[in-house]
Subunit: 194 residues, 2 copies
């Protein structure tokens, strides 16, 4: 990695941190510049506008989150049914910093993101891909298409809602309780009975 890409990476990493902590709207490129420790010329070279910087940082946050989900969900070579359900449970039970909130989910409450078509599309694409990945794993576990999609929406909603509950109550156990309540139901019903 040369000095230029290193400066770019430090700018993106600093923007990701600050966006997660205080939102996109409340973060100025100048603050990101100060936090990153790179020279001012690098900022304007790599990111002429705040939109360019926000797109890179939101894109990196989404790529990180999707990669983490895929590590939990991706196919085992044998395609075993029980194993597929265990992968969904692993996705649900992965330790999360509940009080910090989901770095992607919180962007849906960030007006500066939702008012910007380009940024909103990146957030939308994350959830569409995540829901597809969970639904595919639930189909591997033996669920028919419609039930797999509904249950995938429920699984992702449990994680997102768990973050909301943890932040609202100031208690990370609130998220763990939501996941536990859902996983108990999920593993008692590995296949559609209706």
């Amino acid at each position: 990695m040369n000095t230029s890409t290193d400066a770019r990476g430090r700018l993106v990493a600093a923007a990701q941190e600050m966006f997660a902590a205080q939102g996109v709207g409340a973060t100025s490129p100048r603050q990101v510049l100060a936090a990153s420790g790179v020279g001012q010329g690098s900022l304007y070279h790599h990111f002429p506008t705040k939109h360019d910087l926000a797109a890179a940082a939101v894109g990196a946050t989404v790529a990180d989150a999707l990669a983490a989900a895929r590590r939990d969900l991706d196919d085992a070579p044998d395609g075993d049914r029980t194993d597929a359900l265990a992968r969904v449970v692993a996705y649900l039970e992965r330790p999360r910093d509940a009080l910090a909130g989901c770095k992607v989910g919180r962007l849906t409450s960030d007006q500066a993101v939702m008012d910007d078509d380009g940024l909103r599309d990146v957030v939308t694409a994350y959830f569409v891909r995540l829901l597809d990945a969970v639904a595919a794993t639930l189909r591997d576990a033996g669920l028919p298409e419609g039930a797999a999609r509904d249950r995938a929406h429920a699984a992702v909603a449990i994680v997102q809602g768990g973050y909301v509950l943890a932040r609202a109550t100031g208690d990370p156990d609130a998220m763990r309780a939501a996941v536990r309540g859902f996983v108990t139901l999920l593993t008692d019903n590995p296949e559609e009975t209706a």
Copy 2:
């Protein structure tokens, strides 16, 4: 209702609308005053500070949301088990403006609320009471204490996460799919089998 309480009510209603649309931090008392149509003297008479206005509006939003949940969840006179589960399903399936987001849940992403101990406590109390009400209904449905609490957290997380998914994808069906996926599991498992 005299003119003074009417002016107070209009100020609170206008603040509730604007907080839901653009957040507490981005809303000035002056904007609320303009939207309410009341005289400037009324604003400073009823709400000397922005905190006073925010506390009244957040309190009213929480009271409305809790009353709506209690209408779905409150005990039927006969305490019938199936009926108790049906009440939880009614809470989950109540039609919601999914794309607008939860008026209370979104406050957990509003830094102006979470940084203010008084406002944050009002939001926390809402979720504690809502979780208690859902857990009590699930105990009426025959679940033991621990399972009822976990499943109540899951139910409230489904609603909150459903809002996040609907806003993120721009599709209100995303919330309905999450609720449907959870309700199918819930009604297939009316009692703890583990």
